[in-house]
């Protein structure tokens, strides 16, 4: 997976973190590593592969012939697969933002996690544009019609800010101004 792994633990910053880490280390990590080195690596069988499933490209709903039920089914399955993938992508971006916030701290995250925040905001907007507010249940035909109406509406109203970046930037500015307005000593901010 392309997700970042955690860095190694750095002892010496906090006494209680060190005590907790040494406890968990002695109770769980050391026995498991000992067992892995002495038994598992010695007696494990040969390595064998597994593959990532590939789906053949099929016709989308707009390319299907009239009354071709088989084509409709394949297009619908492809649509559902793509929707699941897009949902996972949005989840991964949300996970990245929350990891960034935990890493930097709640206040520094306003400055340093701007990229992750913008990516998540963009992905949320795109997901909603593609799959949102169609009613339950909906089919690939409903999604296709939504896309068509959306494109017509965009052509008729070209100057409208659909994703709401102005509102987002305004909210960020207000948050930062509020935090700056709180009187605090410099070494905490």
């Amino acid at each position: 997976m392309p997700e970042p792994t955690t860095e190694e633990y750095v002892p010496g910053l906090n006494k209680w973190s060190d005590i907790g880490y040494t406890t968990l280390d002695a109770l769980y990590l050391r026995p498991v590593r000992w067992f892995h080195r002495n038994f598992v690596e010695r007696f494990r069988g040969p390595a064998y592969p597994y593959y990532h499933r590939k789906f053949n490209p099929v016709k989308t709903i707009d390319e299907c012939e009239i009354e071709d039920q088989v084509c409709f089914y394949e297009a619908e399955m492809a649509f559902l697969r793509d929707r699941r993938i897009d949902t996972m992508i949005v989840g991964i971006l949300q996970d990245r933002l929350s990891r960034c916030i935990v890493h930097e701290g709640r206040i520094d995250a306003l400055d340093k996690c701007a990229k992750e925040k913008d990516d998540l905001f963009e992905s949320h907007a795109n997901w909603y544009q593609k799959y949102g507010e169609m009613g339950t249940p909906h089919s690939c035909v409903d999604a296709y019609m939504k896309q068509k109406h959306h494109m017509i509406w965009m052509r008729r109203h070209p100057e409208v800010d659909l994703k709401g970046w102005a509102v987002e930037r305004e909210y960020e500015r207000k948050t930062k101004d509020y935090i700056k307005s709180i009187p605090m000593p410099m070494e905490f901010r």
Binding site: R44, A47, Y48, Y50, Y51, R53, Q69, V70, Y73, E74
Partner: protein, 174 residues
């Protein structure tokens, strides 16, 4: 499980039957008393059920899972080689999951293909029925053919008579 045998002495100390009850049951002479004890039935039943259901199930399951995780190990992700079609269980990582995919569960693609086939067969059947309905409708409306109104019934007796008449007209051989 190891300390189950220590429960009963603790129970006896906590819920000791009273002295009066013990003296009432003193029937035989020379200080022979029947000791009134708390029933062991529930304990024995619980231990029996525990041993039967969990240990006979848990121990083999644990051994199988231990073997699969320690000695067999999980698969490594590799690119599909050129010109090779992986079998349907080779798309899974854990050895037990591969086992289930290979021997127990219906393959992932098979369900898809079966759905496609059923849709196709349904469509063909509907088309054939629609065609028959259309033909019947047109013939009833136009009335210019005798296709659907005369049912071809095979009359075996008549055919037999005709054959025998032909043989009679040819003449019998001596």
């Amino acid at each position: 499980m190891v300390l189950f045998s220590k429960f009963r002495p603790l129970l006896q100390t906590v819920l000791k039957p009273s002295e009066q009850l013990q003296t009432i049951v003193k029937r035989w002479s020379s200080g022979r008393n029947m000791k009134v004890m708390i029933t062991e039935f529930h304990e024995r039943k619980f231990f029996d059920m525990f041993h039967y259901y969990f240990l006979i199930g848990l121990v083999p399951t644990f051994c199988v899972v231990f073997y699969a995780n320690v000695f067999v190990g999980q698969a490594t992700l590799t690119e599909i080689p050129e010109g090779y079609e992986p079998r349907h269980w080779e798309y899974y990582k854990h050895p037990l999951r591969r086992f289930m995919a290979r021997y127990v569960v219906q393959p992932f693609d098979e369900r898809y293909e079966i759905s496609l086939h059923t849709i196709y067969a349904r469509v063909m059947r509907d088309k054939m029925k629609a065609l028959e309905r259309k033909v019947r409708r047109l013939e009833h409306a136009r009335g210019d053919a005798k296709g659907w109104f005369y049912r071809p019934v095979v009359d075996h007796l008549t055919e037999l008579e005709q054959k025998q008449a032909a043989e009679r007209s040819e003449g019998y051989s001596a």
